[in-house]
Symmetry: C2
Subunit: 153 residues, 2 copies
């Protein structure tokens, strides 16, 4: 794909957002800015270390937070127990599979909103629709939470 955004090297993208490039930051960016998996910070750490073993956990957290501050990633508070990161910073919605915990992007125009009214005295900065459900045909009962066993005896 050569759409004028992804054809630039990762290193150039970082510098274009005012981020000093370094070996570690490029390695994190190569994964985190290309994936569609909505990984958590620890998942990024594990993935990147496969090809770049000299990388501390603190650096991954620092780097991801830096990318968020510079507008390269968006943090999502949707998954249970952790923040996940989305390199798609354009407006869109999300669908959470309640059985697997997987998060899928939903195009902005898959939802037609006629009007939206924030609470009085509050200023709306952005919004999105969070859908929950499961793959068609599966009943989807008790949600997995932490361990695989049921959380209520």
């Amino acid at each position: 794909m050569s759409n004028g955004v992804t054809e630039r090297t990762v290193s150039e993208r970082l510098q274009g957002h005012g981020i000093q490039a370094s070996a570690q930051r490029v390695a994190v960016a190569e994964y985190a800015l290309r994936t569609t998996d909505h990984p958590s910070a620890d998942v990024v750490w594990a993935k990147v270390r496969e090809s770049f073993p000299f990388l501390s956990r603190a650096t991954v957290y620092n780097t991801l937070n830096l990318f968020v501050a510079k507008g390269l990633l968006r943090p999502l508070v949707i998954a249970e127990g952790r923040v996940v990161f989305d390199p798609n910073v354009e407006p869109h919605h999300h669908f959470v599979d309640e059985e697997t915990g997987e998060i899928h992007d939903v195009p902005w125009d898959a939802v037609a909103i006629r009007s939206i009214e924030p609470p009085r005295d509050f200023e709306l900065r952005d919004y999105q629709v969070i859908m929950r459900g499961s793959r068609r045909g599966r009943p989807a009962r008790a949600r997995p939470r932490g361990s695989s066993r049921s959380s209520v005896k």
Copy 2:
């Protein structure tokens, strides 16, 4: 307020949902089923212990998860770093104040949705709009995250 729902005692509500009442469960319910604060489990623990000191943390977690399983509470994955609980189990939306982290209920009809299309092969169980912003007049820059100091140097 005597609207046919809240006029029943908490103990009766628990039994009506198939939950064996106990001193601890009633104490948790008195707070968690009445509040509009969207508390986390540890907040519930702290609040309830003010008037009911003999209460372990595990009991609070067990009890809240039981209430969720029985449909008395809805878990929300909106706030950073924790799950919060909402005794309003009717459909509604939420507004997150990005400065304070406070969560406010938004009535269902504050948003007019004309159509909504989940991803192919997925079954939509429920959905809600998550709005983010801040109180009018305040600029709302860096979001507080964990500690009060900036997370990116």
